[in-house]
Symmetry: C2
Subunit: 420 residues, 2 copies
């Protein structure tokens, strides 16, 4: 088969349309389908409306090779997906004995009584096959019409993921073709989209016609996504590597990692390689930097202690910050950031100390010290450095960006400090 295999996602439920929840399900399914060589052409959200669900599924199943729906399979009255599909594909209700056994087991384990609406979750249209859900009570459904597949999944992320990864993936892998998609994402920071584009130069000069390069800007920097399509996976991977090496050279020190590798992972890797340890003293971020660092498996080799010194008293008692420095400069100041970083390092006996103090708002700002003002300190045995940044946005955004700036400052400090 030479043409691309195509896919579409249909998210069912008013809660997406009114903005109650973010559509992270679509993101997971898109990643999986892309890995499987499918080109996702549409993601659509429709409401809990029988006609719209029916028409959308019907149209997309004609148009695309694979359609996956999520949502509307729960036990309550607003979950109508199953009845709509019985109406579209015909057939009658049959009980999936296998799913029924899972449901009984599910309630027994929790010591709860099974209700009539729970039992009905095992009923499926006779025109479909059940995709047995082992992490919840609603089975997924699999319909096929004219060689096109429709998969119907619950909206609960854990259950949707289980059914995609354990049930649908093996089915689609068997239908695999000789068409491959390879992709890689490069992470950069500290350079804007247009400057990076100029630094890289005209894409026509290094990008073959079966490749695409996307610039994906966010507050933390610009990601570069390279994607290649073709028939020979090994050749594609070689080509991809060559293009990435070219881009990394062009991006210079702005490049820090691949794919989902966040800055905290780059920092931990630097520290692990040199067998160095870290402690953190956080005021404005309240624990966010420690949280980010400890999201990385193996963080305990490097990260020893976090001091969340939200009050002046705790800065003095836990970090040895001087009361005089506080009264002279205020808690949000260059000297305090320096004393916090030194204190964190000395009081925990680590090689490096990272500190952060600032004003997250909405209150507490002044003309001299506005909301968003942040000081970051890094301390090693040989030197202590402080960087001042002013960050726009609301409280959560300021905290998030402040944590990012702190990790990037530490990364730059480590790059120069750990040089052989």
């Amino acid at each position: 088969m030479d043409r691309d295999l195509t896919a579409a996602l249909v998210t069912i439920g008013d809660e997406i349309l009114i903005g109650q929840i973010v559509n992270t399900n679509a993101t997971h399914l898109s990643i999986r389908l892309t890995e499987l060589g499918y080109s996702v052409k549409r993601i659509i959200s429709v409401g809990d409306d029988p006609d719209e669900i029916k028409q959308t599924v019907d149209r997309y199943l004609n148009e695309f090779d694979v359609v996956i729906t999520t949502g509307g399979l729960g036990p309550t009255h607003d979950d109508i997906t199953k009845s709509v599909l019985l109406d579209l594909f015909g057939g009658s209700w049959v009980k999936s004995e296998e799913q029924f056994a899972v449901i009984i087991d599910f309630f027994e384990k929790r010591g709860r009584k099974i209700t009539a609406i729970n039992e009905m979750q095992a009923d499926i249209p006779s025109t479909s096959k059940a995709l047995i859900n082992e992490v919840g009570t609603a089975p997924g459904l699999w319909f096929n019409r004219n060689g096109h597949d429709l998969f119907v999944l619950p909206g609960v992320p854990k259950e949707m993921k289980f059914l995609m990864d354990e049930r649908i993936r093996p089915i689609l892998q068997k239908q695999n073709t000789s068409r491959f998609i390879v992709q890689k994402t490069l992470r950069t920071t500290g350079i804007g989209e247009s400057f990076l584009a100029e630094q890289i130069g005209p894409v026509g000069e290094f990008l073959p016609s079966h490749a695409t390069l996307a610039f994906l800007p966010s507050f933390s920097g610009v990601r570069l996504r390279v994607m290649l399509k073709g028939n020979n996976q090994a050749d594609l991977n070689l080509e991809l590597d060559k293009i990435c090496q070219f881009l990394i050279r062009k991006a210079g020190s702005h490049f820090y990692g691949f794919g989902e590798e966040d800055l905290e992972e780059a920092v931990l890797t630097l520290l692990k390689e040199k067998k160095k340890t870290l402690s953190v003293a956080e005021s404005i971020t309240g624990g966010l930097i420690g949280d980010k660092i400890t999201n990385i498996p193996g963080a305990s080799e490097v990260f020893m202690t976090g001091f969340v010194t939200y009050s002046n008293k705790s800065k003095i008692e836990l970090l040895g910050v001087k009361a005089e420095t506080l009264s002279l400069n205020g808690a949000v100041s260059e000297p305090i950031a320096a004393e916090m970083a030194d204190g964190a390092r000395r009081h925990s006996g680590t090689d490096f100390g990272l500190s952060i103090t600032g004003i997250a708002g909405p209150g507490g700002g002044s003309e001299a010290k506005p909301v968003g003002l942040v000081y970051i300190g890094v301390s090693s045995a040989s030197k202590t450095e402080v960087r001042k940044v002013v960050i726009p946005g609301d409280r959560k955004m300021i905290k998030e960006r402040a944590a990012f700036s702190a990790l990037n400052f530490l990364r730059e400090f480590l790059l120069s400090d750990l040089k052989p």
Copy 2:
């Protein structure tokens, strides 16, 4: 006008379709449009493909009163939205002098040289009006066809939000009709969707026909969203309050807050009301509980100190945990959770101490102490309590749920401890 005003969102860009980014822009726009009384009927993502963009915008602009697109307005080669719309609506390129002035100012302030591609961002189709973007360089666009409005926004969340809130909202408010939508969401925890449904009883008995009730389950509990449509806003609000009071009574102690009020906010409110202070000792969560608490404005009145004691050494030195208790029971144990909570409270001089210790994985688990095992401690002057939970999922999910369980344990402790 009696019919609902309808809206559709079109997200442009391959990065959504391959799952590179989550569509949070659609969530923000949906919330705003719903507040403005629009019924969002479709959210669709299409790729960087001129024909698909053109056809989708054309079709939706016939079908819906308002269409908003995001994405594809950046300065790089893969941003094609503007040219596609020039093609669809006709006209020629004209320069928006007002946006051009913003662009020049933008680069001057940053001390950077303006490039040719930056200058081109001020060019817009003569068939549109510019929506001046003060927080970025790409202007939004406003087209009108047969009384239907098309708004075209950049994909960068900050710029999208600015243009929606500062430019589009005032335009749509002027077109306001006599049709209102009111809604409220109730947060519950500790009870499953089907049990909550049974506890509440048949919806037909308390829900009028112009109202909807949705059950939105997530790991943190079930949210109940009530929505009402009608012509008289005051009447609708009275009705909404009555329904919510009924549901709160039915949900009992499982109810903890409204709308976006997270558990940490409910906990802070409890503490603030009684003028009590809190310190936290975190191991497994690495700072996440402190981060959550400090996301709430005014947290500094209540939250004094966080001890992120990731190593045994830091548990002993910062919290006074006994080396003997550690060697006898291990760091993940009931006695350690108790000593950590007591230590946090005593060493920071707060009224309450909350502690958490556990195994986040992927490594470090054993048969006796599996990945996901978590102990939570709460300490007050009069008593110390520990709760054991076992949490499924990956590292990040375990941390997230552990933090949630800890806050809920603290909430329950406070409810009984602070009783008058």
